[in-house]
């Protein structure tokens, strides 16, 4: 999975979304979900991905619950939740098996997305650990001033909110500095930008693409 070109995986994401929309039966959707989970397990991704998937399932269950409350239709609830899981799992596969730089290069060179937009994805990911470290540091500073989280969930929520302000302000300042620094490094001169990433499609990618198109056509015909 790691060696398949980013573009192929991007296209796969689109196709899987289409399949998730087209399929209506629970067995079919379950098959789609199972195949994706098999792919994930076989590519041996980091354990954090599984934690994310667990959260996804929990969220889908909540969604199914809400759907049931509205329609009192169990089948519809399960189908909706399954579609959601099927559509989201493929993003997990995409992001867990593709380097952001390669993905952004594919978006720019092959999908003709303007570089600045693709770059935003990578930069955001780069700063997420920093943001987490920042929020932990602020919590430590609060603790060192005598704050200890009390049992009451609401009170804890409000004091967590106290962290949000400095985090947001820091993020805003940071984005201003980053914009300045990028300009100082000659960023934005799209016409001449080069890419070192290896994102070209090989025979296996083309074979996969053909399979995806065939399968989609089959599904469309079959369902109609």
């Amino acid at each position: 999975m790691f060696t398949i070109a980013p573009l192929t995986k991007l296209i796969l994401t689109v196709f899987v979304t289409i399949w998730a929309i087209l399929l209506q039966s629970i067995p079919a959707l379950t098959l789609l979900i199972t195949c994706q989970i098999i792919i994930l397990v076989s590519t041996r991704v980091d354990i954090i991905v599984y934690k994310g998937i667990a959260s996804l399932f929990i969220f889908a269950a909540l969604l199914a619950g809400m759907q049931y409350l509205i329609n009192h239709d169990t089948i519809l609830a399960v189908v909706t939740a399954s579609k959601m899981i099927a559509m989201t799992l493929v993003f997990f596969i995409l992001l867990a098996t593709t380097r952001m730089q390669d993905l952004s290069a594919a978006l720019v060179l092959q999908c003709h997305v303007p570089y600045e937009y693709a770059f935003m994805l990578t930069a955001a990911l780069r700063f997420i650990p920093d943001l987490l470290a920042e929020s932990k540091a602020i919590q430590e500073a609060q603790a060192c001033r005598g704050y200890s989280p009390q049992g009451n969930l609401i009170r804890r929520f409000f004091s967590y909110m106290a962290i949000i302000k400095p985090l947001v302000l820091k993020a805003v300042t940071r984005s201003e500095t980053m914009a300045l620094s990028l300009e100082l490094r000659g960023f934005g001169n799209r016409k001449v930008r080069s890419f070192g990433n290896k994102i070209t499609l090989n025979a296996r990618d083309y074979a996969l693409l053909i399979c995806m198109v065939t399968l989609t056509s089959y599904l469309i015909i079959h369902i109609n």
């Binding site: 430590e140 500073a141 609060q142």
Partner: protein, 271 residues
Amino acid sequence: MLELRKVHFAYKNQSHVIHDVSLTVTPGEFLAIVGRNGSGKTTLTRLIMSLIKPLRGDILFQGNIIPHCTPAKMAHHIGYVFQNPDRQIFHDTVTAEASYGPKQLGYTPEQTATFVNDALAVTGLSELANAYPLTLSKNQKQRLTIASALAMQPKMLILDEPTSGQDARQRDQLLQLLIKLNKQGTTILLVTHDMDLLSACAHRAIVMAKGHKVFDGTVAELFQDVLQLNNWGLTEPAALKISRQLAAVDVKPTTSISELSHHVATLFRRG
């Protein structure tokens, strides 16, 4: 007051970050903690503040072992000033910021107001009492974090590299403030790179190297072995370096520039 007994600590996936460190701090001391970046200086202070727990060994504060202690409990006795002021400020005015600590510790509003006024006065921020902290300069923010710690009436103050990024004037002001606080009885633990700062205010120093405590003694003793200092990534103050290498022409070793210049001037007049 504070005692560490054979403390071991390591972050996940790393070999020992703090290895078998024992240390005693008496009330009223001014202790400097020095060493290269990554030697464990900050980690040691985090262990003292209970932000992290030792894997082995004990930490005692005022005779009580603190295994189940939290930073919030330690805050009743120790004021911890982190290196980065931006991560320690979360209120809308300077006064509100400095009041946060005493409030959390359970002081009455009257007590809080008194402590805050005193703390702002000592750090020279009284005129900025209603200022919005994010509009302050880095140095003012640094002083605010110190004031916020002081407002909690700590017996001990731990400061992590408070002079980094400060200009020379601000550094001198901070130095005077720390000396004043120490004279008033606050025990101070100062993590620093600045050897001139250290020799001007600290009584005692410990050196950390790769997680081990490799030196524990007076500042004068610290500067005795130049080769060792260099091994530990430290330098001697300029006055000491110059005076030592002029021993052959009767110059006495000293850490003070003014002493050195008087002495050399005297030698010149003789000649």
